[in-house]
Amino acid sequence: MELYQTLQSLVTSNNLSWKFLIPEYSLLFFFLLGLFIDLFFKNKKWITVLMLVGVSFSGFLTFQQISASIEIQQLFNGMLVLSNKIIVFKLLITLVVCLFIIFASTDDRIKKQNTAEYFYLAPLFLIALNMLCMSAHMLTIYLSVEMVSLFSYGYVALSIKDKSNAESGMKYILFGLLASALLLYGISLMYGFAGTLSLQDPHFLAWFAKAPMPIIALSIGLMMAGFLFKIAAAPFHFYAPDVYQGTSSTTLVLLSVAPKIAGYALFANFLGFFSFKIFNQVLFWPMYNWETFLSVIAIMTLVIGSFVALSQTNIKRLMAYAGIAQTGFLLMGLIGYTSIGVIALLFYLLAYLLMNTAAFMLISYFEQQHEAYELADYKGLVRKSPLASILLVVVFASFIGLPPLVGFTGKFLLFSASYQAYVASANPAILITIITAAIASIVSLFYYFIIIRNMFMQEATWVKVNKEEQNILYLLVLPLILAIIYFGILPSNIISYIQSIIA
């Protein structure tokens, strides 16, 4: 009789849960539609438009899911969770995928390869990323991490043109496999000692706390390996420069941002299972020193990203290391796991999305227009493409955190959040993180301005110019730049909105 009741409650929960996955169904539908058109029709140019419609539509459906309460919805007996916070993460990712599809449709190199899968895989990738944001059970975490990795490998492989790309694809896969093996091992340890796979199980923390201290540290550390790989944080950042260098800038618009946002969503959820909110104060699970752990990771990531970026000669490798440094900044939002920290994280993710997308669009433009791949190729480019060069200055200034651009507002919020976390816990590791982040900002000036200096202050050695100007690019980049400036000067509305729905 008891078994019957349990089964019945399971079924009821499942039945109630299906409707929360409507955006994912619509994505699946559009993916199948794209696949169908690709197989049976000759004219494939509609796939792009269709996918854009599909992804935007799923974004609309996701937006509709924002609920009045900030309660966390348990789906499928706690396999997945959904809350307004997760919906914001999902919306950000959807925005990235939309921008990617629009931008990829302007890329001639993709048109020449005639690869429709480039576009109809996007909805499927988005499903994987959404699942990653929502997963709340060790199994779903592992499955969605793997699913995201799989599509990432696919996208790297799709943009392969020569052997060097094949090498970077291979490195990506090998590192990814290592990370997921570590993740799986961490999960198995955690399962072994906690006795449950569900992170939401009320007994999970109590049981897990009985494990020996080294085991707790080891299993969390191993699981973190998988997460850190996804957000490209030290010490699991090694793949990023090689992958960036070997992958086309168009693909990087997607790959440099989307998995990172999903990784942060997962990270934030995961921390949520290890923290308690008591009288508006967030307390971490006392068995594990999350603040110190996150601070150390952030410091390592900031230092490695910033200082190695200084010595790069290739624009994409530089952007990869700069991206690692940015990861360090983003981690600052999670250190205290305060509500202001999460808001700062979400806002900086939005900023990062705008800046990185614009940056890679412009880098792609310079690649196509002037065959500029190395930093030295950027010499004197302002003479050939003044507008694009000025736009790149705005993007880089925002990355560095100069007001009144969105990067500054984001960094300001992150610094404020860490300061609050420091005041609340008086943990010196957080203070060191803040100071390291300040120094990393200064160093970032140096490496971003190597490019600016080359563009504006040096004479061109040789510059190839492909004749046709890509006006369509400006149509894409200019709105992003305007958003960078707008959210820098007037961030109130968007932050208030995020705040009102998540806290």
Partner: protein
């Protein structure tokens, strides 16, 4: 109409946007537009100055509006105001800035490359400078402060001399180093200070200056019993960080090394802006922010601040004496003269601080004149080695007249503006020993030695370059090139020379505006500083 300050700030931004939209062909309108805009700014600033003199105390032309206002749930609200106002401390510097920008715009006739980009950046810089002097919200101040960096970087880096890349990034890195840490202190202050009206945290500088507005257990509170960081009071660390940020800007020893490089590489108008305005922001920041917010630390460290000032005076003067490049010599003389500003502030006497403000304005005018004069000969023969010229007075007698005025004013000849500033700061430094016992008398004596060395290098340069029989490195060719002043050059130099003389004879033109504010400021800094220091010493036991 009560939004004059906004007009002053946003007029150049609007003009910059219009310039951006103009086609590149219209290259001959860029400079006139910029000149007209900066003339308008100067007129507005003059009007504001005259209005201020009618009732020279308190804050005038106040503008206040919500800018960023966020509800952060349990963390209360994030309030950032658009808060502008001027008082006796900033009104003079505001007028100086507008005027120097006007002169720099006229002096920009040597810029031939990319006029569109140049004047757009110029106007953007102008807006940021006006904003810095008007902002009373720390966040707003910071935004304007950082907004100056990018235009300045490009102005030095794109239109500068052969070593411009190095000089421009050095300038940028030094300033950013100071300002990033200033951001951290700013955030710390924000979370410590409560707006007494609304009960929310605030960036309002005026609230930060009142010890009563700090929440009791916050890090920057005077009444906190555990506000120590690395066993050192947090308020002292905050003061040191802010002081370093502004000391880089002034610049003082040992943070000065970016200045000679930047000056040597920058084109004449940019040098004028750099020396005439940007250095003043350092002095202004120390008076308004460092001393205003942390009076007890200012008193506690006054000996060291005074020492830094004295060392800057002497070191700058000695290096200037040894310089072989005329522009480098003037750059180091700037460091020396700005040392008097620090010394005057450190004395915390009415004479000293009034003198510091006078010295800043006087130096703004004089350095504008000096750098323009260097530009005049550099434009003719592309050389400014002191040794390359001899007997310049013969081919260029009128030019020499202006050089003599500028040099004598700089070395502190009575009757010219430099004398008043230096004399008052020295009086302040002398008086300090008997009034508040902050600075030893020896500082004032050493600083006077600095004036002596200043006289030596200016007179020696005058003798080497201008007197005697003409003999130039470029021989006959230079004789033809070294023509006397043109109409534009007169247009720049005559008002500058007149102002120097006028301020030297009627120093009350400036003192009338600053005196009330500074007297009150000195009094409050002293009273609050001593009270805070006592409270902190008893609570923190350091």
């Amino acid at each position: 109409m009560n939004n004059w300050l906004s007009i002053l700030i946003f007029l150049p931004i609007a003009a910059a946007l219009i310039l951006l939209l103009l086609p590149k062909r219209a290259s001959n309108v860029f400079r006139p537009v910029t000149i007209v805009i900066s003339l308008l700014q100067t007129l507005i600033a003059t009007y504001l100055y005259s209005q201020y003199l009618k009732n020279p105390q308190g804050y005038h032309f106040v503008e206040r509006a919500d800018w960023i206002n966020l509800n952060l749930g349990t963390f209360g609200r994030l309030n950032i105001d658009y808060f502008l106002a001027v008082d006796g401390l900033s009104i003079g510097l505001l007028l100086l800035s507008a005027f120097v920008m006007f002169i720099a715009a006229i002096a920009s006739n040597e810029i031939k490359k990319d006029p569109k980009a140049y004047y757009t950046l110029f106007l953007l810089l102008s807006a940021a400078i006006m904003g810095v002097f008007c902002a009373l919200d720390f966040f707003l101040f910071y935004v304007f402060y950082e907004l100056m960096l990018l235009p300045m970087y490009f102005l030095i880096g794109m239109w500068g001399g052969p070593n411009r890349e190095y000089a421009s990034i050095k300038f940028f890195l030094y300033t950013l180093f100071g300002s990033i840490f200033m951001l951290l202190v700013m955030i710390g202050l924000y979370f410590s200070v409560i707006d007494p009206v609304t009960g929310e945290h605030t960036f309002n500088m005026l609230y930060m200056m009142d010890a009563a507005n700090y929440t009791k257990d916050s890090y920057f509170s005077i009444f906190s019993t555990d506000a120590l960081l690395f066993h050192y009071p947090v308020r002292f660390l905050g003061f040191i960080v802010l002081f370093i940020a502004f000391a880089i800007k002034i610049p003082t020893i040992p943070l000065h090394t970016w200045l000679p490089d930047a000056h040597v590489e920058a084109p004449t108008p940019v040098s004028i802006i750099l020396a005439g305005v940007l250095l003043k922001i350092g002095g202004y920041g120390i008076i308004r922010i460092c001393y205003g917010i942390f009076p007890e630390a200012a008193i506690y460290f006054s000996y060291w601040i005074g020492l830094i000032g004295v060392v800057s005076i002497l070191y700058g003067a000695f290096i200037a004496l040894a310089s072989t490049d005329l522009k480098r010599m003037i750059a180091y003389s700037s460091i020396s003269h700005m040392g008097f500003v620090i010394l005057g502030i450190a004395s915390l006497t009415s004479e000293g601080v009034n003198g510091a403000i006078f010295q800043m304005i006087s130096h703004g005018v004089l350095s504008t004149m000096l750098f323009y004069l260097v530009g005049v000969i550099y434009l003719r023969v592309q050389d400014r080695e002191i040794a390359a010229f001899r007997g310049l007075a013969q081919p260029m007698p009128r030019y020499t007249l202006f050089v003599v005025i500028a040099f004598f004013a700089s070395l502190g000849l009575p009757g010219l503006s430099g004398f008043i500033g230096e004399a008052f700061t020295l009086i302040g430094a002398f008086k300090s020993a008997s009034v508040n016992a902050l600075l030893p008398r020896g500082f004032a004596i050493l600083a006077s030695v600095g004036i002596l060395i200043g006289a030596a290098y200016f007179l020696w340069t005058l003798q080497r370059m201008f007197f005697g029989a003409p003999r130039f490195k470029g021989a006959q060719e230079w004789h033809l090139k070294l023509k006397d002043l043109t109409a534009t050059e007169y247009l720049v130099l005559i008002p500058l020379a007149l102002i120097t003389i006028l301020l030297g004879i009627f120093p009350s033109l400036l003192f009338d505006a600053s005196n009330n504010t500074i007297n009150a400021w000195v009094h409050e800094t002293w009273i609050h500083g001593i009270a805070n220091l006592k409270s902190m010493q008893s609570l923190l036991k350091f």
